[in-house]
Symmetry: C2
Subunit: 133 residues, 2 copies
């Protein structure tokens, strides 16, 4: 399997753990040795693995947490680090996420996740600047 | 200089180019060989170096673009890739940014930037104690 295919597979495992509400799978896919960070939408950065795993356990165990769909993912490899850009669809909202992975003991493990809101749905032009005249 | 110090220096150069409205400095600090991406707040990802540089030229040449202050930065090194987490203060709004760098020809070059809004101001004190002399 190519690095790109392996990284996309790791990215799918992340969203599968999300969809399956599986906190153990979520914990297992985060890097164990590299310095990890996670930025949930609107949150400050979590910079500690235990805090990140705890946040995911809380999110995944909350029946009110909405489903997240990953779309339009692309993978970009930087040697032993790689990142995926993708859209997240959460109910009627679109977000843009970056997921970074690092190769640990031969497996691509998540080292950083950041997701934030898109002002417009993807594939549509940005809103033009408001004209104040 | 340690890797952490060098990465923090590269991160400062990014915000200095922003503050100085210097598009050439901004262009020079982005990686030339690695696959780059940039996610401005609310925007979809730009995945092409030329598009990223053009976006910065537009932002930096717009007199209506607000000033951006970088605070609370921390650097995390993953071998030949490193990332900085920091807060951005834009007028009264707080954002959280991740800036990834890759070592190219001995220099840390920006390979990914994502900035998104914080729902609440950061918990930590943002401003150093004022000197009232």
């Amino acid at each position: 399997m190519s690095d790109v295919a392996a990284v996309l597979s790791a990215n799918r495992a992340f969203y599968r753990a999300f969809a399956m509400r599986d906190p153990d799978a979520m914990a297992a896919l985060w890097a164990a040795e590299a310095p990890v960070a996670c930025i949930h939408p609107g949150w400050d950065a979590l910079r500690d693995r235990a805090a990140i795993i705890k946040s995911w356990r809380n999110i995944l165990s909350n029946p009110g947490s909405p489903a997240v769909l990953c779309q339009n993912e692309t993978a970009h490899v930087l040697g032993e680090v790689a990142y995926v850009l993708c859209h997240e669809v959460i109910e009627d909202a679109y977000l843009i996420a970056t997921n970074f992975f690092v190769r640990e003991r031969g497996h691509w493990k998540m080292v950083h996740h950041q997701s934030g809101p898109l002002a417009n749905p993807p594939d549509q032009p940005e809103k033009p600047p408001q004209r104040l005249q």
